[in-house]
């Protein structure tokens, strides 16, 4: 007689993944005491009550020019995505050939849209150029990487069937591009949805998109208005398949041109001064190395900020994992009644459509400034997003023993099949969570983003730029680590995996 293996002993792939996940959760629990999770607000439940009232009884009449805000939000998202795709596509063609291009794209991706916006704001002011560049630049980096990955998977048979001596361009246009066109288009469509959220967020730095009105309504406690704006945004996202139809694309693009604005007067001299002078530490430009030391010591204490950033990212990732595990059955047809499923799906769609910063902002008003609102926002948004995709994956599976009780179906039939994919999605999201962690600093959480935001406010561009570089470096490092951690050989056929 042999003894059964001990707890978590064994080398089946499932157990390996379980051990890794539990280690991650344990690490998070160990570090949790270092996080600032106080509830500072005096009357959080009263605040929740007032917000809920605003959401249930939205005040559409009080809105000033909501149509203009919607039009601008959509226009920026459309053109930002288009310009990003146009810039990213040629980069994708040389992506796997040049390390320099890969590094450049990683850098563009690593800085969040809002930070790009803060940077361009200094030169182009509150203008369409700032808004478009803030979306197009990081998206170019993302498109370059994802397009390159898609192009790499082009079926080879049609290329091999071509007569010898066919030139490179013809080969690409006839035997490669048409084979991946659908996947490129569907990824671009998904990116456009992300651009819609990002475009809303640009309101937080003052560009007059929906987010601008949302932020001021929330900040000033006009919850009826805030509720109305949120409803408008959800309606916009929910009706996307109709108004965002392929056939309407060209008229939409042309129409959007009329709503983009204002266009800035660019002073070439000022622009050059900003790029060549303002962004760099003065001692570095003067060649004064000793001065550079004192410049560095004048920086805010970065270690706690980096620590907070990493801790929040870890907490966000683990929170997303736990929430995704709990939430996905809500939207899957393997569990519950149809009406429960409808509710579950609605909840997940609402959570994943709301921009994280928006969620964090709402929690912040409820709970007061600490890491708690940021953590909740990151975990809820990303957890819901992963849960939604996992539920869709689950619906594609047929289970062998359908009459098992729900817990048996969950633990024995479905989760073992879904978990590698879930973990892979989580690792992709970890990079996104990291980017957003820095961003939440803009709401006062003492992450790197907090210092970037305040450096910009005090017009210390050299310091802001340096901190942006640190953030980018950190993001690239996290991306590399999560790629190692990610389960291999998992088909991530879903274009929404990022």
């Amino acid at each position: 007689m042999s003894a059964p293996p001990g707890l978590l002993q064994g080398n089946s792939p499932g157990l390996t993944l379980a051990r890794r996940s539990l280690a991650l959760i344990l690490l998070c629990l160990l570090l949790l005491p270092f996080a600032d999770l106080r509830i500072v607000a005096v009357d959080p439940w009263g605040e929740v009550w007032r917000m809920a009232q605003g959401f249930v009884r939205p005040d559409f009449v009080a809105l000033e020019s909501p149509l203009r805000a919607i039009a601008l939000t959509v226009s920026v998202a459309l053109w930002g995505t288009l310009i990003g795709a146009v810039l990213g596509f040629p980069l994708a063609l040389i992506f796997h050939r040049s390390r320099l291009v890969r590094a450049f794209c990683a850098f563009m991706r690593a800085i969040h849209e809002l930070f790009w916006a803060l940077l361009f704001l200094q030169v182009f002011g509150l203008s369409a150029v700032t808004a478009l560049a803030a979306l197009a630049i990081p998206y170019a980096g993302i498109f370059a990487k994802v397009y390159a990955e898609i192009l790499e998977l082009t079926p080879k048979a049609p290329t091999e069937a071509l007569p010898a001596g066919t030139d490179r361009l013809s080969r690409f246009l006839y035997a490669e591009l048409p084979l991946v066109w659908e996947r490129l288009a569907s990824y671009t469509r998904y990116r456009f949805e992300c651009a819609m959220r990002a475009s809303v967020l640009l309101g937080f730095v003052g560009l007059p998109t929906l987010g601008f009105y949302l932020e001021s309504a929330f900040r000033e406690g006009r919850f009826g208005e805030a509720g109305a704006l949120l409803w408008l945004f959800y309606a916009l996202v929910a009706t996307l398949p109709w108004w965002g139809h392929r056939r309407l694309l060209l008229p939409l693009l042309i129409g959007a041109l009329f709503f983009l604005g204002p266009w800035p007067d660019v002073d070439g001299h000022l622009l050059w001064r900003f790029v060549s002078h303002d962004l760099w530490p003065a001692p570095l430009l003067d060649g004064n190395l000793a001065g550079l030391g004192s410049w560095l010591s004048s920086l805010p204490d970065l270690l706690p900020a980096i620590g907070n950033t990493l801790l929040l990212a870890l907490m966000g990732t683990v929170g997303s994992l736990v929430l995704a595990l709990l939430l996905w059955p809500l939207a899957s047809f393997h569990f519950g009644h149809p009406w429960q499923r409808f509710g579950g799906r609605l909840l997940l769609v609402v959570l994943r459509s709301t921009p994280e910063l928006m969620l964090a902002f709402i929690f912040l008003l409820m709970l007061g400034p600490s890491m708690l609102p940021a953590w909740l926002a990151l975990a809820l948004h990303n957890g819901a997003l992963i849960a939604f995709l996992v539920a869709r994956h689950a619906d594609g599976l047929t289970i062998g023993m359908a009459d098992l009780p729900a817990s048996g179906r969950y633990a024995y039939e479905l989760l073992p099949r879904l978990y590698p994919n879930l973990l892979a999605l989580l690792c992709y999201r970890a990079e996104v969570i990291m980017r957003e962690t820095a961003l939440l600093g803009m709401l006062g959480v003492a992450t790197l983003g907090f210092y970037i935001d305040s450096s910009f406010q005090y017009l210390m561009f050299d310091q802001a730029f340096f901190l942006l570089l640190v953030t980018a470096g950190l993001n690239i490092a996290i991306d590399t680590i999560s790629r190692r951690f990610r389960p291999r050989d998992v088909p991530l056929d879903d274009p929404c995996s990022r």
Partner: protein, 232 residues
């Protein structure tokens, strides 16, 4: 006049040798049927013949190598991509060239693809795709036809018709196929491969169905070998 000769050549992919020490000579004007089970080395042999003949051979690959999103016209046009400048090929994607359109229309009519030129290949049946792949090989306008199972997805009757078209247009051909009756009746020479070796090489008129069936030992074990004709 020999078309090409292999003198104890090792054929394969990279370092993996599929056909060791192959000695074989193909004559111009010969119609050669290539038989053997899957994995016997037919595709490797055809790929090497294609490589050596270069642009004197038209090529019809296994699995067609078509692009589903493009129309029948564009898929056939791809047979002559190397003869036009890149920009002219690009423009042809947007507006088909008149002369090419007419040539391809005639080809399509000949192969039973009337009225389908504008349709995406994704919307065609298996047999129709097969014809598009053959039409593309015709459009290359070469002397030799090389086909890796170009008759695999059509019924025996259609297979015969298509084979006649192929052979009228090309004096020389090397075609891998599984239809044994066709191989005996419509080819000059039959080459049988098994496990990377030539185990049969004779004029078709000297061979019998039973000899060809012997190339498929696995099929014979389970059923009557001649049934392979109808099923593949």
């Amino acid at each position: 006049m020999p078309l090409l000769t292999f003198d104890s050549a090792d054929l394969g992919y990279g370092t993996q040798v599929v056909l060791p020490a192959l000695t074989l000579s193909l004559e111009a004007g010969e119609r050669v049927a290539l038989l053997g089970q899957s994995g016997a080395g037919k595709s490797t042999l055809l790929a090497e013949i294609r490589r050596r003949l270069g642009n004197t051979a038209a090529w019809c690959p296994q699995g067609h190598g078509l692009v589903p999103l493009l129309s029948v016209y564009h898929n056939i046009y791809m047979g002559q991509l190397e003869r036009h400048a890149a920009l002219s090929n690009l423009f042809n994607l947007l507006k088909p060239r008149r002369q090419a359109w007419q040539t391809i229309e005639a080809l399509a009519d000949e192969l039973g693809l009337e009225g389908l030129l504008r349709r995406p290949v994704a919307q065609l049946s298996g047999g129709q795709r097969q014809r598009v792949a053959i039409a593309r090989a015709f459009y290359q306008q070469r002397e030799v036809f090389l086909g890796d199972e170009p008759l695999a997805s059509v019924d025996p009757h259609q297979a015969l018709r298509l084979l006649e078209h192929i052979q009228t247009r090309h004096a020389s051909s090397v075609i891998a196929l599984h239809q044994h009756r066709l191989a005996l009746a419509h080819f000059d020479r039959v080459i049988g491969l098994r496990d990377g070796r030539i185990v049969l090489d004779a004029p078709a008129r000297e061979l019998t169905l039973a000899q060809l069936d012997a190339l498929y030992p696995d099929a014979r074990k389970s059923s009557r070998g001649t049934e392979v004709d109808a099923t593949t």
